[in-house]
């Protein structure tokens, strides 16, 4: 959480995070929040299982989903996005 958003403390659970996934051009959130400080390895494991089982709304079941080359970004809550966000995304090297 940003220092200048101290008023957010107490309004949200700062230890939890939504997990947003982009896979094959589809996008969705894990149904359950996870610990914001969960390791990248654990996040990768959870989302791989979820996508392979088709339990991510917005992302079609894909039994071969592989996130080993994906990037995991973490964004602390802000006033305009009052929840922590863990984003799992493909690499974006171009501009």
């Amino acid at each position: 959480m940003n220092d200048n958003n101290m008023e957010l403390r107490g309004l949200i659970d700062t230890t939890e995070a939504r997990v947003n996934i982009t896979w094959g051009g589809q996008n969705g959130d894990l149904l359950e929040t996870v610990a914001y400080d969960a390791s990248d390895r654990m996040v990768r494991q959870w989302i791989t299982e979820a996508v392979r089982h088709g339990s991510v709304p917005g992302i079609a079941l894909d039994g071969h989903a592989d996130f080993s080359e994906f990037v995991i970004d973490r964004f602390a809550a802000t006033m305009t996005r009052p929840y922590n966000l863990i984003q799992v995304r493909p690499k974006t090297p171009f501009g």
Binding site: N20, T22, G24, G25, Q26, N27, G58, V71, D73, F75, T80, R81, L85, Q87, R89, P90, K91, T92, P93, F94, G95
Partner: protein, 191 residues
Amino acid sequence: MKHITLVGAGALGSHVALLLRNVDARLKLVDFDRVEQTNVRSQFHSRKSVGKSKVQSLQQSLQFLFGLTVDGVPHRLVSGNAKEVLTGSDLVIDALDNVASRELVATVAHALEIPCLHGALAPDGMFGRVLWDGQFAPDAEPGVGAATCEDGEHLPFIGIVASYMAHAARVFISENVKIGFAVHPRGASPI
């Protein structure tokens, strides 16, 4: 009059320039590269511009189409000139495609206390990032032979990401508010 410096006039940068043509700010374009035939498929450069500098190409297009005069720096941004090129900007936009240059832009903009908006694309047209300042960390370039954005197959998505960049820049210039996005082919999420 505010000043926007747009670094990188390729797939994203050329379209951002097009979409910022009526923003209430003076635009400066920075890119050392020249237009190649393949660029025409995915960038806002015409066949007549092949061989010209990308900066000159955009300057001429914006002048011809809209009567808009923009400043241009047709040189590579390096540590020796970055401070001079970026000084005086109210906003820097990074639309580059390599880690070293992106880090240079971010470092110098931060040192000069200039807000920096970054845009980045996945090569398969499946994801884009529009992020501010320290939110952004550049991804390394893929190896030789990997997919690129050059074939133009994903031109509409390039345009979508460029639109979010231009929108974020416009909101910042007019409202002094920083908004960022994660962009995918089915929509975008605020960051």
